[in-house]
Symmetry: C2
Subunit: 289 residues, 2 copies
């Protein structure tokens, strides 16, 4: 396996960053997780836009290299991968040991890939089964502390949430996604996913602003709008999700993943989720995004 | 210069971590900044205890290696450094690309050093002048999101705060520390420092719980108690600091650094700050902590 580091293809074992790189020192880096289907990165333009937006938010608007798509393509080619997971990171690079960032940035750019099952209408999901989710005590970092629309290497908030799942493991029940609320108790998102639910024939998902605007989330909302399906974004509490008729999580690798249980309570899938899954897979097949 | 990485002394330019290291990927790492005076790390036991506490909070209680003090000493020796800055990081190591951490941890341990001026009663401060601090819009990450007592590589909250200082720079006025409030507006701490002020003969500093319990902060509180000086920890707003008779910041490298201005308003130093500085320097001289 080869990765792309700082402009060069290198063997995976040699893919390193310096300990003075701010990406290591402070998690001072933007990233995107993408998925390639048949050699093509799905929704690349949207990922690129969000990556640029994160870098802008982090005060390094010029950090994303112009040839990033090429670097990704080279990495996929070098590993002979068509169906793959792709992770792109852009750090603020090596700077002297001061917290205040310098204006001039020499970013470190890393592209990592690994094989994933084929997607599309005949594809298979990357997940083992429907999601079992658990609401946790850990609250989402408010946007006033770190802007919610920035996708960064500061991921301890999600890790603290996932660590809580260790404690609820019992009798073979092991939740696989933690659901975060904001400090006021409003439902926000999973640690690596957005959440949707269907109630009385309307599709609901929490409003962005305090959560990461997921790209799969955005596509699902567009699919629903195309079908003139009733959609509402708003503020919800955990009971709204628990009492829903159907619920699912979205992210780039999972696509749409039905939620089987919330805090041990059955929710499950249904016709709306199935329809949206089918429409999403068609988009994947048609490379339409 | 040589650094200590993963159990080995290596040339600074070869001091790297793998891109799959969780320290890089997620900022999933604990760290301490220490200061060596005359070849001895000041307050090592306190730093070690806090590092272990951070690792415990991050769900990797056994991650700190038993020989960490030795690794630090070897690094100082290898670079022939007696008066130095020492940064120790312990990451959760390389793990497969899942957010949920594995129970078994093979940590990556990094020791970085650089020369600092001699401290103690005849020493010189590492800072250029008294601090100019600015309160910023960025709020401190609440403890409900990431525990405040964990000192980690997730440092974007402080970086966002420091980035705001770019905007207030004018007519030669460039604040050098950003002051964070919590989401409710209570004064908390600087991005790399704790804050103290003296008002009507009493020393004040915000209560821990929502802020990092600084080791210099702790020592200063002990020094004041030893002198039977009136001390109060509590909740304060920015005006309390602006209206104070004296104010200063503390951290391991700065020690006690007087605050010249808050949001452009003069505060300045005075007899209490000077006394505490003198007592602190005596402790450094006596290796007493």
């Amino acid at each position: 396996m080869q990765y792309h580091v700082d402009g060069e293809l290198v063997a995976r074992e040699d893919a390193t960053v310096h300990v003075e790189d701010r990406g290591f020192r402070y998690g001072d880096a933007a990233f995107e997780t993408c998925r390639a289907y048949g050699g093509e990165v799905f929704a690349w333009d949207r990922h690129l836009r969000r990556l640029e937006n994160t870098c802008e938010t982090l005060g390094m608007p010029e950090a994303v290299p112009a040839d990033l798509a090429l670097r990704v393509a080279e990495t996929l080619d070098a590993n002979d991968l068509a169906d793959a997971y792709v992770r792109v990171s852009v750090t603020r690079g090596v700077q002297p040991g001061k917290l205040t960032p310098r204006e001039e940035v020499d970013p470190t750019v890393v592209v990592q890939v690994k094989p994933l099952p084929r997607g599309g209408t005949d594809g298979e999901p990357v997940w083992d089964g429907h999601a079992t989710v658990q609401t946790v005590k850990t609250r989402r970092v408010p946007s006033a502390a770190v802007p919610a629309d920035a996708k960064t290497h500061n991921y301890l908030n999600g890790i603290m949430a996932r660590l809580e799942l260790r404690r609820v493991a019992n009798e073979g029940y092991q939740p696989d996604e933690a659901l975060l609320r904001d400090v006021d108790g409003n439902l926000q998102e999973g640690t690596t996913s957005n959440v949707f639910f269907v109630d009385d024939g309307t599709l609901h998902t929490p409003t962005t602003g305090e959560l990461l605007p997921g790209i799969t989330r955005e596509l699902v909302l567009e699919l629903a709008a195309d079908e003139s399906f009733p959609v509402e974004t708003g503020r919800y509490d955990v009971d709204d999700l628990r009492d829903a008729d159907e619920a699912f999580l979205t992210n780039t690798t999972w696509e749409l993943r039905p939620i089987e249980t919330v805090d041990g309570l059955q929710v499950g899938t249904g016709p709306v989720t199935a329809l949206l899954q089918r429409l999403y897979r068609k988009r994947v097949e048609a490379r339409c995004y």
